[in-house]
C-alpha cells in the first residue's frame, strides 16, 4: 500500500517536472509565434508595412485596429542597425522584441522628445566594442541594446479617427532600419 502511494507521489513529482519543462521549452519550439508570422512576410533589416487586422484575416491575434503598423525584422550578426521614424501627429511608438517575442524596450514620441525617433540598435558585445570617444560623442544619440541577435522592431502609429489613416501611413512609410 505504502509502496503504491510512493509510486503515485513519485509520478506526480515527475509530472511537475514534465510540466515545468514543457512550459520553459515551448517558446523555443513554437512555429506559429509572432516572430515566425512576421518572418513569412518581412525581409530582414528593412521596414515592411503590415496589413491591418480585419475580421477575416489578421497576422496576429489581438492587434489594435486603430493603429497602422510597420515592422523591422532585424539581424545584428553583421553589425549594428540605424533606426529612425518621423513621428505622426497623434501618437507613435516603437517597441522592441527579442527573437522569442519578449518585449525588452519601448519608446513613444513624447519620450523621444523630437520630431523623429532615432536610435542605434546593437548587441551587448557590439556596444562594448564601441570606441571610448565615440561613446562620448554618442551622448545625445539613443543606443538600444538587444539581448538577442535577431528580433523585431514594431513601429505603431495611431490613427485616432479613420480620416487620419493616409497621413499616418505616410509618416510610417518614411521609417528606416538599415545596417550602419
Amino acid at each position: 500500500m505504502i509502496r503504491l502511494a510512493l509510486w503515485v507521489l513519485g509520478a506526480f513529482l515527475l509530472g511537475g517536472i514534465v510540466h515545468l519543462a514543457t512550459v520553459l521549452v515551448l517558446p523555443r519550439m513554437a512555429t506559429q509565434d509572432a516572430y515566425a508570422r512576421v518572418s513569412a512576410m518581412a525581409p530582414v533589416n528593412s521596414v515592411t508595412p503590415l496589413p491591418g487586422p480585419t475580421p477575416e484575416k489578421a497576422l496576429m491575434p489581438f492587434m489594435d485596429p486603430a493603429f497602422q503598423v510597420s515592422v523591422c525584422r532585424y539581424d545584428l550578426s553583421r553589425g549594428p542597425l540605424k533606426f529612425s521614424v518621423p513621428i505622426s501627429q497623434a501618437y507613435t511608438s516603437v517597441s522592441f522584441y527579442t527573437r522569442s517575442d519578449v518585449p525588452y524596450y519601448a519608446i513613444n514620441d513624447r519620450a523621444a522628445g523630437r520630431r523623429v525617433i532615432e536610435l542605434d540598435l546593437m548587441t551587448g558585445a557590439q556596444r562594448a566594442a564601441l570606441p571610448e570617444n565615440e561613446e562620448i560623442t554618442a551622448a545625445d544619440r539613443l543606443i538600444v541594446t538587444s539581448p538577442t541577435t535577431a528580433g523585431l522592431i514594431m513601429i505603431r502609429a495611431l490613427a485616432p479617427e479613420a480620416g487620419w489613416v493616409p497621413t499616418v501611413r505616410t509618416a510610417l512609410a518614411a521609417a528606416q532600419c538599415r545596417p550602419q
Binding site: W7, V8, G10, A11, F12, L14, G15, G16, I17, V18, H19, A21, T22, V23, L24, L26, P27, M29, A30, Q32, D33, A34, A36, R37, P53, T54, P55, E56, A58, M60, P61, F62, M63, D64, P65, A66, A90, Y91, S93, S95, F96, Y97, S100, D101, V102, P103, Y104, Y105, A106, I107, N108, R110, A111, P147, L152, M154, R156, L158, P160, E161
Partner: protein
C-alpha cells in the same frame, strides 16, 4: 509504467490548462478588467511567455502602454454578444486609449456597421468627460459597439502613454469603466 503514464498526463495536462485558460500570474484586476503590465517587460513570467508563443500575439511594451481585458461583466457573468452591455465611466490617465471587441481567440468580429472599437478621440462624451458605450447586437444611438451577435467576446481597453503600468501596485485605485449587463435578445 502506471507511474510514468500519470507523470506524463499530469505534466502535459497542467501545461495545457495553464496555457489555455489564460490567467497568468501577476495580473492587476480592477472591476471586470485585468491587465498584465509585467508582460510588457523582460520580466514577463515563463507562463505568459509560453502563452504568447502559442497564440502568436505580441504583448504591448511597457514603454508604449498597457492592455486590460474584460471577459465578464462586473457581476462575473461571461460577456454575451446577444445581450446589451453598458460600459460607463472614465479610464485611468492616458494620452490616448482604444477599446476593441474581439472573439475569445483575438479575432475582430464582423458586423454590418464595420466598427470594431473606439479611440479616445472618436468617443462621444458626457458633459463631465465620462462616457457611455453600449455594446450589443442592435443598433444604438451614441457610442454603439456592435457584437455581431457572437455568443462570447472579449473587450480590450488599451491605455497608451500612461503612468499606470509602472505603478501596478496602486492599480486598484485607478478608475475603469463599469461593465453592466442589460437586456438580452
Amino acid at each position: 509504467m502506471l507511474g510514468l503514464a500519470i507523470a506524463a498526463m499530469a505534466g502535459l495536462g497542467a501545461t495545457w490548462i495553464s496555457l489555455t485558460r489564460g490567467s497568468a500570474y501577476g495580473g492587476v484586476t480592477i472591476g471586470a478588467w485585468t491587465g498584465w503590465p509585467k508582460n510588457g517587460t523582460p520580466g514577463i513570467d515563463p507562463y505568459a511567455r509560453a502563452m504568447v508563443a502559442r497564440t502568436g500575439e505580441l504583448p504591448v511594451g511597457s514603454g508604449d502602454g498597457v492592455a486590460f481585458y474584460a471577459r465578464t461583466d462586473d457581476a462575473g457573468q461571461p460577456l454575451d454578444g446577444r445581450c446589451d452591455v453598458l460600459l460607463s465611466g472614465t479610464t485611468p490617465q492616458a494620452r490616448f486609449w482604444t477599446i476593441t471587441l474581439y472573439d475569445p481567440e483575438g479575432r475582430l468580429v464582423a458586423n454590418s456597421a464595420q466598427r470594431q472599437g473606439f479611440t479616445s478621440q472618436e468617443i462621444v462624451r458626457n458633459g463631465d468627460g465620462s462616457f457611455d458605450i453600449m455594446v450589443g447586437p442592435r443598433v444604438r444611438p451614441g457610442n454603439w459597439l456592435p457584437t455581431g451577435g457572437v455568443d462570447k467576446y472579449v473587450l480590450v481597453l488599451r491605455l497608451y502613454d500612461t503612468p499606470i503600468g509602472m505603478a501596478s501596485r496602486t492599480g486598484s485605485e485607478a478608475p475603469m469603466p463599469s461593465v453592466t449587463k442589460r437586456a438580452c435578445l
